[in-house]
Subunit: 410 residues, 2 copies
């Protein structure tokens, strides 16, 4: 059941073990290093498929991100994705090895598929600072193309993993008149980020009929409510990307069901985002921080992120310690205007810790401790009386986080 | 030599063990719990002394901070400081126990000294959420006043400590014509913040003659370059405060030497700030992050803080791992405009890791590792060609940080 995924007519998938992970001496928690792991994927689209995408905002984005951004306007016909090497920190200037290799990967796929290189989007994730091992691509591209089939998405979900402990897949369906629309998505990314492999990648497919501009609007909204609301340590990667491709093969036009589609897409991206948080190495808690009542949604978000990134709050979560003072202090230093102490209430689950800026009169430590002992924790913070609300999802900060991130590369 | 401090004519000090720490079951790394620790201090000023102060920006500032802010305008004649209980989270509304106790402490000191309560500034540091044990103050105020003497500042330096491992003291002198001006300062605060005792307090004294407004200007500038530039985990306390009191007893007017005074004061506050970082529990490195060339000093600071707060950079520092990719990624996600990847250079000590946004051609990992192995590390980042520069000081993120902050209170 784990990898149950519905096919999307018009999309074919393939994944092979090309040796990129071995080439990079990429040490996973694998029992056998000699066993080659899936690390190179190809996805090909039927004619007429439209694709939208969002990319990392990091100024130092990697070469494949630049190329994918550049090729997005050409109605892409294929995605090629490798894990084990991020092709990041390898140069993005014209003539740099990073950019040359990213283009070369597109050319290889295009030549074998019989399309143009500008119709291929490249994605890479893995170690940074090392050139892509091009022979791994050259030696395997023919086999990859020959393996393309409609039911191989689960293999791609596995092939894009780096430090992930589990594949992340989801599908949703809804009906319009008598027709069914399907959305299927996969993602990779590890909540508790390992340094150079922090990349979040997600690829989503649907059989709805949509113009690229409509798709882009829906994807941007969905990502803002999901992948852009999960945070582990505030660090963002050079390679993050999410695509949404629509084949039109369901015969349903997005104009007839845009709200339904948006809702289903939101559920898909939120589910994948939560799976990334839950897969966090070192993470022992899944934490929602919901802030409402600020003068703007931005104000709510700023408070939510300040609490989510507070190492003191995060270590309290790790220790299952209902330390309301740490939460209150984090709220108090959030960089927003118009925060009034006496308008702040804080809840842990349904337990009120802080009322009007002070410890709630009837709060008992035992109540807080009971909430904190749970694996799934919701911190609700009211900062005013406006009709605004934002949630972010995060993890605790554990000893394993330090161990993983300090041990890696040394 | 440890506590060598020069007296300031016109300032008298006293400290006693009032039982506030015991009262709060404040568990320090003391071998004997039965031994009472110094925890209540009084500082009294000669007539005509002017005092400037800066306070925490946290919206949830504690009751004593509110009272001190309120009394600052009345040319304070005394400071009363307790450790062991922060009188924070105890209410700041009129009628709240927190505010009532803060005022009561001032009244006690005033009655015994024969001054007005509005001429006393109160300061508290320690556990939060518990009312001040007022009997400890009442029972000891007479003895405290009777002990006042010019040479007891070292005892006050010890009495204001909470989780600090060492007293933090410094003095500077400079000459104007044939006269000597002295600045003497003490501070408390533990770089690797223990949750409810994160408070930074600093008290500085000088025998220069200065109006309050001049003092305030000098103090604000000095604090901005020192205490406001140290960061451990981005969390700020509800009780932070720093005062500067000038007796005028040197006979030197600040108008005749304002630059010299500012420079000496900057050295005093920077030295105390660095001592706080070095005393960080769990900290194994002292790290300077210097950013220059941004379109503004604010832009430089934003980049410096983003790097300083990056858990991935901080764990790399803990692991002595010259992981330039993590530094580069943190710079790239800093919330500033106009950052161009090809204008970014990164140095570790004198070793160039990144040149024009890419790994420096002649960089060898062994060079970086050698720099990272040091206890004192300087990361220099160039982000453009403007004549701007800002530094912040921080620590690494260690296993002990998690252990200390997770274990505390549980």
């Amino acid at each position: 059941m784990k990898n149950l995924l519905l096919n999307i007519k018009g999309v074919r998938f393939a994944a092979v073990a090309a040796g990129i992970k071995q080439e990079q001496h990429f040490s996973e928690n694998s029992s056998s290093k000699s066993l080659k792991k899936l690390d190179l994927s190809l996805i090909s689209f039927i004619e007429g498929t439209t694709t939208a995408a969002v990319f990392t905002q990091n100024v130092f984005c990697a070469a494949p991100v630049l190329v994918a951004k550049n090729h997005l306007q050409n109605q892409p016909k294929a995605l090629i994705i490798n894990s084990g090497n991020a092709n990041a920190g390898t140069g993005v200037g014209s003539g740099s090895v990073g950019l040359k290799n990213a283009y070369a990967v597109c050319q290889l796929a295009a030549d074998t598929l019989g399309i143009k290189a500008t119709q291929v989007l490249p994605f890479s994730t893995g170690v940074i600072g090392q050139p892509l091992p091009m022979s791994c691509f050259e030696d395997n591209i023919k086999q990859l193309v020959s393996l393309l089939s409609a039911d191989k998405l689960p293999e791609v979900a596995r092939a894009i993993m780096t430090t992930d402990l589990a594949e992340k897949t989801i599908f949703k369906q809804f009906k319009v008149a008598n027709k069914t629309v399907t959305i299927t998505g996969i993602a990779k990314g590890s909540g508790m980020i390992r340094p150079d492999m922090a990349t979040m990648l997600s690829f989503i497919f649907t059989d709805i009929l949509a113009h690229q501009s409509e798709l882009q609007k829906c994807l941007t909204q969905a990502v803002n409510q999901s992948f852009n609301r999960i945070t582990v340590d505030g660090d963002t990667s050079t390679n993050d990307a999410c695509t949404l491709s629509a084949t039109g093969t369901s015969g349903v036009n997005i104009d007839d069901c845009v709200d339904k589609f948006q809702q289903a897409l939101n559920e898909v991206t939120k589910d994948l985002a939560h799976k990334i948080i839950k897969d966090g190495e070192g993470a022992t808690k899944f934490v929602e921080i919901c802030v409402r009542g600020g003068v703007s949604n931005e104000a709510c978000l700023e408070v939510a992120y300040t609490v989510a990134h507070s190492p003191l709050v995060k270590t309290a979560l790790f220790a299952s310690d209902a330390n309301w003072g740490r939460i209150l202090a984090a709220v108090g230093r959030a960089n927003i205007k118009h925060l009034k102490a006496h308008e702040v209430d804080i809840y842990l689950g349904s337990v009120c810790l802080v009322k009007q800026g002070e410890k709630a009169a009837d709060y008992l430590e035992s109540q807080g401790m009971r909430e904190m002992a749970k694996d799934k924790i919701k911190i609700s913070i009211k900062i005013g009386n406006h009709a605004t609300e934002e949630s972010v999802w995060t993890t605790d900060l554990s000893l394993d986080y330090i161990k993983i991130n300090a041990a890696y590369r040394t």
